[in-house]
């Protein structure tokens, strides 16, 4: 593909070093503006009325009293939004069913979860807005609800969608079901494989929904003018996606909405979708004033997109030497109120770390009365891998084989055919296993009630549509306009580093910015570990375009043939050999003359980045279990991961550490607790317990670099893999510590204590 650039090994001056990020000062002084930090004169405050029921038919909504309240300037309900057809429409590369999007944004026939929006108001103050919400009269017909995925799959369970028949089943079922879709991957001869096995281990696992836990609640500010144009500031991972979704549900031209992404205070997949944005635009349109909508923490938990809770069954067979002969898994995932969990990706990730001839994975996408699932860092994979890596560990232990050795015996490598389709290219899985084994952590001594566990993870990583524009300013510095949102601070710096490396100039000469939707062509959202890979590719392409133009310009200015001009270390220089000589020109000198010699010099790229390289990681964790309280303490944690190339090692380390800690929280404490009434009982950080500084040790990181052949610097994504191994690694460490195999997440003190007590009772 002509626009894609292959890896070239070379000497690097800037890539791989640790310069200071360009947006750092604003972030440590409080100057940086996040979603809720924007204000416009005359703005109104928007608030959402949310369902108190997990499942109910909406019989009527009466907003008249709210509309009449002084200070209320606009009210919207389902009547203000068009019906959308039940079909998938392309939004960039995502296929989205807008019938579901518009209903998740504002309920139409039914409310399907505690927190489901029904109406929204815009008023002169928050106090008036809240008062207005209380005046909206809704008549509900409360219906039975179901949240547990296994319960929801049973015939006779309360049904969310009367027209939902399980897709992927032949012949088409004659009854509707909460199972929206069934999928199956199969290869080889499973029965024969299990027949060959000397040992078969079969286990069932259950996980609870967890939230991405970003510290910044969703926030947006919309301002519409009378000619139908809209400006929107929002905290999001994908401003082009926000624009596209809003345009569709509001039936506006895409170019009439200008979305400016604010700094984003965490997303992790949870800010890939619209929640209040279209409501704010609609309210602004109606009230003729800007409307600001900021979610409370409670709303974030109740009504954004926690990940699936799931039921997972895993069965693996192997020879007594530890060679896997057959593996199968069934993954039953909550999708939430509308179909579309990540069960497919989970199915593809479950066993990919191993070279298997006989595999079967069945996945079920199940609608239940809780918020619609949104992506969460390597969506689906941590859940599937929790089950698989736990069973692998159990098998290794039963056979007396070292857990890393067991995995090495079965490891996928370059050329391994995955069971979901293609062969793997060059990968670093084995390297991560070997480096983990060689790490001092792996052989450090352990004390009483302490245990060690390892687990591994794989994620595909993606590329997708990416745009950027690189402009040489009159003084020789460059502005780099990026379409990819910088979620974690390293990406702006890394892009500038790659440009500086290409051009042979100082890092500080390149100023990166993230542009709003009017500045560049469509750019996919920041997810899938694509930022440094795809945006980096685009920046390198733009840089090389600029170099070409510089050479051409200098050839004209110096009146020499193009072949005589080389670009080196930020200067145009004679190419050497027998070519024409000329006085070199610096970037600043060329820039000063640019306007008078043809115009500004710029480069740009609009690509669909292909060739993302998969990432693999191996984690080692030591825990100590307090048998009196059931509390599990993390003593030591090491992450070993192949990232292809660490453009800025400190930010790569940050991804590995941050992802691992999210996994630790998922393993030890985080869970959604629903009451019998289907209402969320813990929508706050007190009772939804994420890891705090005192829960954790330092997280050691080992960066492995097996270059991705499809990226000029060898970059693979790195952000998602680290959240995958911790769940099983910790389960395996607990088993190693106290001899109990825990299969229900999270391993919170009451659960661990119960397991200890049950085991003691069984013995006694």
């Amino acid at each position: 593909m002509s626009t894609m650039l292959k890896y070239q090994e070379r000497e690097l001056k800037i890539v791989g070093t640790r310069p200071l990020r360009p947006d750092g000062v604003d972030k440590v002084t409080g100057r940086a503006r996040f979603g809720a930090d924007y204000n416009l004169p005359g703005q109104l405050i928007g608030k959402v009325l949310r369902s108190p029921h997990a499942h109910a038919r909406i019989k009527s909504i009466d907003t008249s009293a709210a509309q009449a309240l002084p200070g209320v300037k606009a009210v919207v309900t389902r009547d203000d939004f068009a019906e959308m057809p039940d079909e998938y429409a392309a939004v960039g590369e995502l296929m989205i069913n807008f019938r579901d999007v518009t209903r998740n944004m504002m309920a139409r026939e039914k409310v399907l979860y505690d927190g489901h929006p029904l109406a929204a108001v815009a008023a002169v103050s928050e106090a008036v807005a809240r008062e207005a919400l209380a005046l909206i009269k809704v008549e509900y017909e409360v219906l039975p609800h179901v949240i547990d995925v296994v319960e929801a799959m049973q015939p006779g369970a309360p049904l969310l969608h009367e027209n939902q028949y399980t897709a992927g089943v032949k012949p088409k079922p004659d009854r509707p079901s909460n199972v929206a879709k069934r999928l199956e991957y199969a290869r080889g001869d499973l029965a024969a494989g299990f027949n060959e096995a000397d040992l078969i281990v079969e286990r069932e696992f259950n996980t609870k929904p967890v939230h991405q836990g970003y510290i910044e609640p969703q926030a947006c500010l919309a301002s519409c003018s009378e000619d139908g144009q809209a400006e929107l500031w929002t905290s999001t991972q994908g401003h082009f996606i926000v624009r596209a979704q809003c345009a569709k549900v509001l039936q506006m031209d895409v170019s009439k909405i200008r979305v400016t992404p604010t700094e984003i205070g965490g997303g992790f997949g949870g800010k890939n979708n619209i929640y209040s944005e279209a409501l704010a635009i609609a309210l602004s349109r109606k009230s003729h004033r800007p409307v600001k909508m900021v979610m409370t923490r409670e709303e974030v938990f109740r009504a954004t997109g926690p990940t699936s809770g799931a039921n997972v069954k895993v069965r693996i067979g192997c020879t007594r030497d530890g060679k896997i002969t057959a593996a199968e898994a069934e993954l039953n995932f909550q999708a939430g109120a509308f179909p579309g969990s990540s069960v497919n990706q989970a199915s593809m990730c479950a066993f990919t770390r191993y070279d298997l001839a006989n595999v079967r994975v069945v996945g079920n996408d199940v609608t239940v009365n809780r918020p619609k699932v949104a992506a969460y860092r390597a969506p689906g994979a941590p859940i599937a891998v929790f089950g698989v890596e736990s069973v692998i560990d159990e098998m290794a232990k039963k056979l007396g084989i070292d857990p890393i050795e067991f995995r090495l015996k079965n490891a996928a490598r370059e050329g391994t055919q995955t069971y979901y389709g293609p062969k793997l290219g060059p990968i670093g899985y084995i390297q991560t296993l070997e480096q983990a084994r060689a790490h001092p952590h792996y052989s450090a001594p352990l004390g009483p009630n302490q245990g060690r566990g390892i687990a591994t993870g794989f994620w595909f990583n993606i590329g997708n549509e990416t745009t950027c524009s690189l402009n040489l300013q009159e003084d020789g510095t460059l502005t780099l306009m990026l379409g990819t949102i910088d979620v974690a601070g390293g990406s702006r710096a890394s892009m500038a580093m790659m440009v500086a490396e290409e051009l042979g100039i100082e890092f500080e000469s390149v100023r990166p910015f993230v542009g709003d939707t009017s500045t560049l062509g469509f750019n996919f959202l920041t997810a899938g570990s694509r930022g440094t890979f795809a945006s980096g590719m685009a920046c390198v392409i733009a840089s090389r375009q600029v170099i070409e133009k510089l050479r051409q310009r200098v050839a004209k200015i110096r009146e020499v043939p193009l072949e005589a001009v080389a670009w080196k270390d930020g200067h145009a220089r004679p190419a050497g050999g027998n070519v024409a000589q000329f006085a070199p020109m610096s970037l600043a000198e060329i820039a000063k003359m640019a306007g008078k010699t043809g115009g500004t010099i710029a480069g740009h790229a609009e690509i669909n980045a292909q060739g993302a390289g998969p990432g693999f990681g191996t984690h080692i964790v030591d825990v100590e279990v307090d048998k009196q309280t059931g509390s599990v303490k993390i003593l030591r944690y090491t992450v070993v991961q192949d990232v292809g190339k660490a453009i800025h090692p400190a930010y790569v380390e940050g991804q590995l550490q941050g992802g691992a800690v999210q996994g630790i929280g998922w393993a030890l404490n985080e869970e959604y607790v629903y009451g019998d009434d289907g209402v969320l009982q813990n929508p706050g950080f007190l009772d939804y317990r994420v890891p705090v500084a005192s829960d954790l040790p330092f997280i050691d990181t080992v960066i492995v670099e097996v270059p991705n052949p499809n990226h000029p610097y060898g970059v693979r994504g790195c952000g998602e893999v680290p959240i995958i191994p911790p769940l099983a690694a910790i389960a395996n460490a607990i088993e190693n510590a106290i001899g109990l195999r825990l299969c229900q997440l999270p391993f919170s003190p009451p659960r661990v204590l119960k397991a200890i007590d049950d085991a003691a009772a069984a013995k006694g």
Partner: protein, 158 residues
């Protein structure tokens, strides 16, 4: 409902603002004084993103009513740098990449500074427990703790 008039000192400057009875100090700082460096992460005192100093005491500003600020001296993140000179903690956070998205950073810097004011030579454990009230979802706290310990070292003259 009539609003209340409050006079206070913020980052050394005398300020005045009007507020509702039920408005928190956090809301007054952000919405009345337009000092948006202090963040709301939860509104219930669980995340620490709204940390400020009130008369020398570390406080979650979402748990304090705006009217209670009358006559008090408040310090927010906007007052941490002196002119162009960043506080050592601010510098070390950038050097150590102790921030990713940055939303928790103002609260953590305020909290860390108050720790070092009372304990200039904290252990790793003391730093972790002091910061246990400040949630960060991006970093896993590793580089934050490193940055605080390094800033403490520099401030001690080490």
């Amino acid at each position: 409902m009539a609003r209340h008039h409050v006079s206070a000192t913020v980052n050394g400057d005398g300020v005045e603002f009007l507020c509702e009875t039920g408005q928190t100090l956090l809301e007054a700082l952000r919405d009345e004084l337009r000092l948006t460096g202090t963040k709301e992460g939860c509104g219930t005192g669980d995340c620490g993103a709204c940390s400020v100093m009130v008369d020398g005491r570390l406080v979650c500003s979402c748990l304090m009513l705006a009217v209670e600020a009358e006559g008090k001296s408040i310090q927010t993140i906007e007052g941490m740098a002196v002119g162009e000179t960043l506080h050592p903690l601010q510098r070390k956070f950038i050097e150590h990449a102790a921030l990713q998205c940055g939303i928790c950073t103002p609260g953590i810097l305020i909290a860390a500074r108050s720790l070092l004011a009372r304990n200039p030579n904290p252990t790793e454990s003391e730093v972790r427990y002091w910061l246990a009230g400040n949630l960060c979802r991006c970093t896993g706290y590793h580089k934050i703790v490193e940055a605080v310990l390094d800033a403490a070292r520099e401030m001690r003259g080490g």
